[in-house]
């Protein structure tokens, strides 16, 4: 009992510490937001200003931005802790590592996924997305980005010690992102056309639940493996 209470306290500590480190500099907290805004301005520039085309590709754009925002911070996720020895200290705590590591994933999601969810209405506005699709976009992001963070974390843990296996595993992991993207974008499109989206959302939710619960085990195994 007391151990589980401790686990939660520890979990919160890891989370808050990670956020503190990330927010060390005032500007850093804003950066992901600005970055997203900029990615979204890039596309209209590249594609041309026709609002109809923009609206059609908007879900794709925003989801690519989500992917990118996830990937950008990802290789740092465990790397810094690994290099400076904090990660081995986490392994030496008397709480289960798999659980502790989810705090780091949560921090990553709070810094990369959540801003995206919050900002999505603005992005949708900029890209002329039909009103009906706004909430669908926000929902898919809310349901999908945790899975992005969790899957990404597996990759980050696996590539920690940079042995031969790394490439193969990223090759295996990256395609896992694609189902997320397909279901999410089709949900947004359907919503834009006034069609039902429960199906896709349910699948997204299922993927997220599955990955968020199972990924920690894989992560913990990978991290312990890299301690050799």
């Amino acid at each position: 009992m007391s151990s589980s209470v401790n686990s939660t306290a520890l979990w919160r500590s890891v989370l808050v510490r990670d956020l503190r480190i990330a927010a060390r500099r005032r500007s850093d907290a804003l950066n992901p937001l600005l970055f997203l805004l900029m990615v979204v301005t890039l596309f209209p520039l590249g594609v041309g200003p026709g609002p109809d085309i923009l609206a059609r590709i908007a879900p794709g754009i925003i989801w690519v931005a989500a992917l990118l925002a996830t990937l950008l911070g990802l290789d740092r996720l465990f790397k810094d802790d690994y290099n400076d020895g904090s990660l081995e200290q986490l392994c030496l705590l008397s709480q289960p590592l798999a659980f502790t590591l989810t705090a780091k994933v949560a921090a990553h999601w709070l810094l990369s996924g959540l801003p995206l969810v919050i900002l999505s209405p603005v992005l949708a506005l900029l890209l002329n997305l039909p009103l009906d699709a706004w909430w669908a976009l926000a929902l898919t992001l809310l349901l999908g980005t945790p899975a992005l963070s969790a899957l990404g974390a597996i990759g980050a843990a696996l590539t920690l010690q940079l042995q031969r296996g790394g490439t193969l595993i990223s090759l295996i992991l990256l395609p896992l992102f694609i189902p997320l993207l397909i279901f999410a974008t089709s949900a947004v499109e359907n919503a834009g056309m006034g069609l039902a989206v429960h199906g896709q959302l349910a699948i997204l939710a299922a993927i997220s639940v599955l990955t968020v619960t199972l990924a920690p085990l894989a992560m913990a195994a990978a991290v312990r493996m890299s301690m050799n």
Binding site: R25, R26, S27, N31, L34, T41, G48, P49, L54, L126
Partner: protein, 249 residues
């Protein structure tokens, strides 16, 4: 040739100079802005095509021009800071950037507001509009970089380098309007062409231009004073200026 700059490399002397000039700039700003705005809003004739909506021009155009002007000034300061290693020039960068960003923001939303009655939409992904948005990003980048460093001198140098690199973008941004226009689609942009403006409209515009120039300078000077103090906070003269010196002993 740069000899005259030398005394102003000293923060205290610079502070005194700026402090002395500031009231004059502020007064002139208020006068010229008042004249320009009242003339432009109330006395200049209405446009035969755009009616009275064109009066937005008296803030839109000056702010747009000085959003670029301020950036150029910042880049020049960056060059001075890097080449002659003058600290006060470094510190002027964080003073200029927010003011420039404000000018950019003003140009952006006055343009957007003007666009609604003229084009029927707030925002188009047109070259000029987008390039102004990019200018805002550049400013934000410079500020973010400056504040990202613990060591302020390093931050200032980094921001100076970025400001200088970014200035290459100014002409590119400026002329990309034409390139984009001719190469892309020109439908929404025809109204953008400079109206052959009547002198009765031109005069107030020129005065507002002067007013915005002075305004930019005034705001920069206000912030610059703060920057000088911030970096010299541990020195007695700064403490004296701030009125905290007595507590020291």
């Amino acid at each position: 040739m740069w000899r005259w700059l030398h005394p102003y490399a000293k923060p205290e002397a610079t502070y005194r100079l700026v402090d002395r000039l500031l009231p004059w700039f502020a007064a002139l700003t208020i006068i010229s802005l008042a004249v320009g705005m009242i003339w432009g809003l109330a006395f200049a004739p209405a446009d035969y095509q755009q009616g009275d909506s064109y009066r937005i021009i008296y803030i839109h155009v000056p702010s747009a021009i000085f959003s670029m002007g301020a950036y150029f000034g910042m880049a020049v300061m960056g060059a001075i800071a890097l080449i002659w290693q003058i600290k006060t020039a470094e510190w002027s960068i964080p003073a200029i950037a927010p003011v420039g960003a404000a000018m950019t923001a003003i140009a952006l939303f006055t343009g957007a507001i003007w666009g609604k009655p003229m084009w029927g939409t707030w925002w188009v992904w047109d070259a000029r509009l987008t390039s102004e948005l990019i200018l805002l990003f550049l400013y934000v980048g410079v500020m973010a970089l400056y504040y990202a460093f613990d060591d302020q001198r390093t931050g200032a140098k980094a921001a100076a380098i970025l400001a200088m690199v970014g200035v290459v973008n100014l002409p590119i941004i400026h002329y990309s309007v034409e390139w984009w226009n001719t190469l892309h689609q020109g439908a929404t942009i025809t109204k953008f062409e400079r109206p052959s403006i009547a002198t009765s409209m031109l005069w107030p515009l020129l005065i507002s231009l002067l007013g915005f120039m002075l305004l930019t300078a005034t705001l920069v000077m206000m912030r610059f004073k703060n920057e000088l103090l911030r970096h010299e906070l541990h020195r007695p003269w700064a403490q004296k200026v701030l009125g905290t010196a007595q507590e020291a002993d």
